[in-house]
Every structure is written in structure tokens, then in C-alpha cells.
């Protein structure tokens, strides 16, 4: 009978999951069309859809005949929209994975310093003019910076299979402070163009996304997200604690190491091209957990879609909120995510007397 209940519970949350993901996909498509259409050169939704259809080989009368509109769509708007979708999805999955391995809903790449570690790596390669990995150089250094930061957080904040929240957040404070100082150093010693790029990394912006960058982000984040989803059931078991997960057959240490690499990849590749965008990995998985429960397969898939939606609309706001100005998106997400973080802390204080 209890199994019956379980199946019903399972079906209910799977049903709800389908609805949430379907709704998010609709929002996503609307967001793509809206975001591609709005801007200094306004393009109607019909023209946007028409242009996409024509590109995939369906000739139609909606497609714009003006070459200027075509170029704006395909060279400026679409790469940017797809980039925001990919980075939002990657950061949300990174957040959910990090929360799973720390067993803590507050772990987030931005909050614990992984993003700024990646930004430091990226700005080091810029200022020092490194090009050892060709077009991938900045991405590789961002990944290495993020990996170093994640390892430091992991080694500092975890003891005897537990993560102390205070230690976790203090480690984040320390890493963010160090990375901030490192970026200040590179800003100081860099030339004008490196300075501009570093400022851009600190604030985060999707402006000027190019197709080749989009392709790199797409490949890396798709592979990493796919692996994370394959590991979903092990993340569920990990929430029982390290020892119990091991008793159920999980190779805990290996799972953690793989996950740390995944988080660094997902965060690093986004940061490499668009800079630091905080709180996405905190807000999206948290909302999805509230709606759909903590089961990781559904959580990861829905966070992926939800993160894409959030960043498409956030970037649309960043571009259109102030006329003729492109607001830094990292600033925007922090302006919204910061208060959310406060709310999360207050809510938890009331419910459970805070985090010890």
C-alpha cells in the first residue's frame, strides 16, 4: 500500500515535472523570439520566426527580406540569445550539482567563489597575453581558476563527511576577496584593452557573443550537464550522508571528484565568455526544489531549462531597461539574487533557527 502511495507520489511529481518543464519550454521559446526581436532595431516576432524557419529550410512569407534585419538577427541577436540560454542552463546545473555534493542548498558557484576564481583565471590569461591553447585559452584558464577555487572550497569546508555552512561561506568570502585582489592586480598591470576586458568579467555581459564562442559553451555544457543527469540517482543517495551513501554502493570520493570537475567546467566555460553571473545557480535550483521536490533527476533537468529561461529574460531586461544602454547582466542578477539570498536566510532562520 505504501508502494502504491509512492507510485502515486512519484506520478504526481513526475506529472508536475512535465507541466513545469513544458511551461518553462514555452517561456523559453517566447523569450527567444522576444529577445531576438527587441532592441535598437525592433524586429517583429513574425519576422524572427520566419527567419528561423527559413534557416532550417522551410520557405515562408514571414521571413524578412531586408538584409540588415537578417544580419542583425544572425550576427548579433541570435548568438547572444543562445549564449544567455546556455550560460543560464550551465550555471543552474552547476549550482544544483554543487548543492548535491555539499548537501547544502546555499552552495553556489558565485557565493562560494568558484565564479570569481574562474574570472581570475580568465583575466590572468588576458593580461599576460597567453595563447597556449589558441582560441580556447581564456576558457581553459577560466576552467582552471574555477577548478582551483572549487578544490579549495571542498578541502576547506568539508570535514569528516560534513560541510559546515559557516566554514563554507567564510571560504567563499576569502576566495572572493583574494580573486578580487588578483583581478585588481591584473587591472593595475594590464594595458587599457585588458582593463576593459577585466571590468567586463567582473560585471558580466552577454554583449558581443559570437557563434564560435556559443559553440564552445554549447559543447562543454551539454556534455557536463548530460553526465550530471546520469549521476542524478547517486546525488539522491548522497543526501543520506557520505557513509550511508557508501553503504548503498556509491563510490563517494569518485562521485565528488567527478562532480567538482563538472562544476568547474560548467562555471568556467560560462565565465570565460560572459563573465561572472552570480546567484543563478542558487535561485533556480532552489525554486525548482520548492516546486518539484529534491529528487535530482527532475531537479537537474528542470533547473537546466529554468536557468535558460531566467537568463534569457534577465538579458532582455539588461538590454532594454535603459534606452541605448547595455546593463551588465552580472550586476542585474546580483541585484535580484542578493535580496533573494537574504530572504532565504531569514526564512531558514524562522524555520530551523538558522544554520549552525
Amino acid at each position: 500500500m505504501s508502494r502504491e502511495a509512492s507510485r502515486i507520489v512519484g506520478r504526481a511529481s513526475a506529472g508536475r515535472g512535465t507541466i513545469v518543464i513544458a511551461a518553462a519550454l514555452v517561456l523559453l521559446l517566447v523569450g527567444i523570439v522576444l529577445s531576438a526581436g527587441l532592441g535598437q532595431l525592433a524586429i517583429g516576432p513574425g519576422e524572427v520566426v520566419g527567419s528561423i524557419l527559413r534557416a532550417i529550410g522551410i520557405d515562408n512569407s514571414w521571413a524578412p527580406s531586408d538584409g540588415m534585419i537578417e544580419r542583425t538577427l544572425w550576427q548579433i541577436r541570435f548568438p547572444r540569445v543562445i549564449m544567455s540560454l546556455l550560460v543560464g542552463a550551465a550555471l543552474s546545473v552547476a549550482g544544483a550539482v554543487m548543492q548535491a555534493i555539499f548537501g547544502n542548498p546555499l552552495a553556489e558557484p558565485g557565493v562560494v567563489g568558484v565564479s570569481s576564481g574562474a574570472a581570475l583565471g580568465a583575466s590572468a590569461s588576458i593580461t599576460l597575453g597567453l595563447s597556449v591553447f589558441g582560441g580556447w585559452t581564456v576558457a581553459v584558464f577560466a576552467f582552471l581558476g574555477g577548478l582551483a577555487a572549487t578544490l579549495i572550497v571542498y578541502l576547506t569546508a568539508r570535514a569528516q563527511g560534513r560541510t559546515e555552512i559557516v566554514t563554507l561561506l567564510l571560504t567563499g568570502v576569502a576566495i572572493n576577496a583574494f580573486a578580487g585582489a588578483g583581478m585588481a592586480l591584473f587591472t593595475f598591470i594590464g594595458d587599457t584593452s585588458s582593463r576593459e576586458q577585466i571590468v567586463f568579467w567582473q560585471l558580466g555581459s552577454l554583449n558581443g557573443s559570437r557563434w564560435n564562442e556559443v559553440a564552445i559553451v554549447a559543447v562543454v555544457s551539454a556534455v557536463a550537464a548530460f553526465i550530471a543527469i546520469l549521476l542524478a540517482h547517486q546525488y539522491d543517495l548522497l543526501s543520506l550522508g557520505d557513509r550511508t551513501a557508501a553503504h548503498l554502493g556509491v563510490r563517494v570520493e569518485r562521485l565528488r571528484i567527478v562532480s567538482i570537475v563538472l562544476v568547474s567546467l560548467l562555471t568556467g566555460v560560462g565565465v570565460a565568455f560572459v563573465g561572472v553571473i552570480s546567484f543563478v545557480g542558487l535561485v533556480v535550483p532552489h525554486l525548482m526544489r520548492m516546486i518539484l521536490g529534491p529528487s535530482h533527476r527532475l531537479l537537474l533537468v528542470s533547473s537546466m531549462v529554468g536557468g535558460g529561461v531566467l537568463l534569457i529574460y534577465a538579458d532582455l531586461l539588461a538590454r532594454t531597461l535603459v534606452e541605448a544602454a547595455d546593463l551588465p547582466i552580472g550586476m542585474l542578477t546580483s541585484l535580484v539574487g542578493g535580496p533573494f539570498f537574504f530572504w532565504l536566510i531569514r526564512r531558514n532562520r524562522k524555520k530551523a533557527g538558522g544554520w549552525a
Partner: protein, 265 residues
């Protein structure tokens, strides 16, 4: 492979096990074998090394000296998944990081069997475990919101659902009321009757005396006595090990030893 061996064979064997942490000897030269079809109780004062010994038997920590075998094979040689199909462990503290329901937590006990023919048995195993641990009314509740005793029982159901031939329980009765304490040890007896090996850490000597086939007394990391309850639970030995006088009487219904502290008010 999953079926418990017919009673009598040796399930787990610890030989000369020592464990040191930070220069401190927590276990020294513990030799113990546990047979299928037996309930073995580990008792002893606080800090005697009971939980550490259970951790060593579970394969969580490798002993500094000596060896631990399961079915004649060193624990370190067992692939994790195969080990999870052979032995289950209930720890003292059972926390769950996110708000999984009790049902989801019990279901997780079946994780080792994913992809095996035994996965067919999932439904039955979960149903029986839920009934045995008396948690049918809790299944829809969020695990973090349960009381300590309820958490312990849901976790017990998770362990039972795993359906392994060796079951290790670390103080399964600590947070439980009288009725559920008895129920847990009756479950342990039933598992042994099915041919499984049960190793249980207990504080209540009368509970151990009533339900265990054998009792092993640990004191300061060493095994000081081992045998049938009536042989092991003597007034002199308990007084010496625990440093407090006790009276051992015989339960008129079962003939089993009952240990009560001698009190003067």
C-alpha cells in the same frame, strides 16, 4: 548470491583488529566471528569502541592492524555495489540533506539492486520493510520534519528494504520508545531466523540479554567477554566493566538475564 547462506556458516570474521586514530588506540586486537543465523550484540561502556568496531565491520574504515572478512573475502576486495548487496548498515545519526519524503528514503534502500533480477522484488521488499518498521503512516512526510524516533524507524525500514544477508545496526533503539525498542529486536531475531547475520550495538544490557544469541563485551577497545548472554552477563563482570554495581536476575518468562543497577535512594 543474494540468498542468505544456510545458517551456521561464518558471515563476518574480524581477526586481530586494531584501530588507531591520532595516536590513540581505539580498538586493539579484537577477534570476532559472526555466523549466519545469529544475532550478536556488541555492548560496553561509552567510548569502548563499539561504533568503531561496527564501522570496521561495515568497511567504512580500514583497521590499522588485522583483517576483516565477509564471506571469507577481505572487505577491501569487495566492489562497492556487490558489498551493498551483501551487507546493510544502520548508523546512529540519520540526517537527510534535502526534504526527501520518508517513502523516497525507504526506496533508496533498493538502490544496490538496480539493474539486477532482484529489482523485481522492489515493491515487495519496500512494502514488507515499511510494515516491519511500522512507518506506513509516515511515508508521505518529509524526512527532515520527522521526530528522532521516527527518523530512526524510517532509516531502519530503508536498511530492511536493502535485504542483505548481513545487517549491522548501530544503537537502533537509542531514540525509540519501549514498544518500538522491543519491535526492533524482534525484527533482528526474525532476520536471524531467516538465516541472516545481525550485528547490533546496544546499550541496554537487558535488551541484549533477551534477544541476542551471543553478546560481545568491549571495554577500552578490547574484547573482554564473548558468549551466550547467561554466561557473559555476570554481576561481577558488568560491575567491573561499567564501574557500577548491578543485579542480574532471571526473567521468569524467558529465562533470560535481566540486568538492573543496584540503587540506593
Amino acid at each position: 548470491m543474494s540468498a542468505p547462506r544456510p545458517g551456521g556458516g561464518i558471515a563476518q570474521q574480524a581477526s586481530g583488529v586494531g584501530f588507531r586514530a591520532g595516536g590513540l588506540a581505539i580498538l586493539s586486537d579484537v577477534t570476532l566471528d559472526v555466523r549466519y543465523g545469529q544475532v550478536v550484540a556488541l555492548v560496553g561502556p561509552n567510548g569502548a569502541g563499539k561504533s568503531t568496531l561496527l564501522g570496521v565491520l561495515a568497511g567504512d574504515v580500514s583497521p590499522s592492524t588485522g583483517s576483516v572478512l565477509l564471506d571469507g573475502r577481505p572487505l577491501g576486495e569487495w566492489p562497492p555495489r556487490e558489498l551493498a548487496r551483501a551487507r546493510s548498515v544502520l548508523l546512529q545519526a540519520n540526517q537527510v540533506a534535502f526534504s526527501f519524503t520518508a517513502q523516497q528514503v525507504i526506496d533508496m534502500g533498493r538502490a544496490p539492486w538496480i539493474g539486477s533480477p532482484q529489482a523485481e522484488e522492489d515493491e515487495r521488499a519496500i512494502r514488507e520493510a515499511t510494515e516491519a518498521a511500522d512507518v506506513g503512516h509516515l511515508t508521505k512526510r518529509g524526512f527532515p520534519h520527522l521526530s528522532g524516533g521516527e527518523k530512526a524507524r524510517v532509516s531502519l525500514a530503508r536498511v530492511l528494504a536493502q535485504e542483505t544477508r548481513v545487517v549491522l545496526l548501530d544503537e537502533p533503539t537509542a531514540a525509540l520508545d519501549l514498544r518500538h525498542q522491543e519491535a526492533v529486536l524482534q525484527i533482528a531475531r526474525r532476520l536471524a531466523a531467516e538465516g541472516k547475520a545481525v550485528i547490533v550495538v546496544l546499550h541496554d544490557l537487558s535488551l541484549a540479554g533477551a534477544y541476542a544469541d551471543e553478546i560481545a563485551i568491549l571495554a577500552r577497545g578490547s574484547l573482554v567477554a564473548r558468549g551466550a548472554p547467561s554466561e557473559v552477563l555476570t554481576e561481577e563482570r558488568i560491575a567491573e566493566v561499567y564501574g557500577t554495581p548491578v543485579r542480574v536476575t532471571e526473567d521468569p518468562d524467558t529465562g533470560r538475564p535481566v540486568v538492573t543497577p543496584r540503587r540506593s535512594l
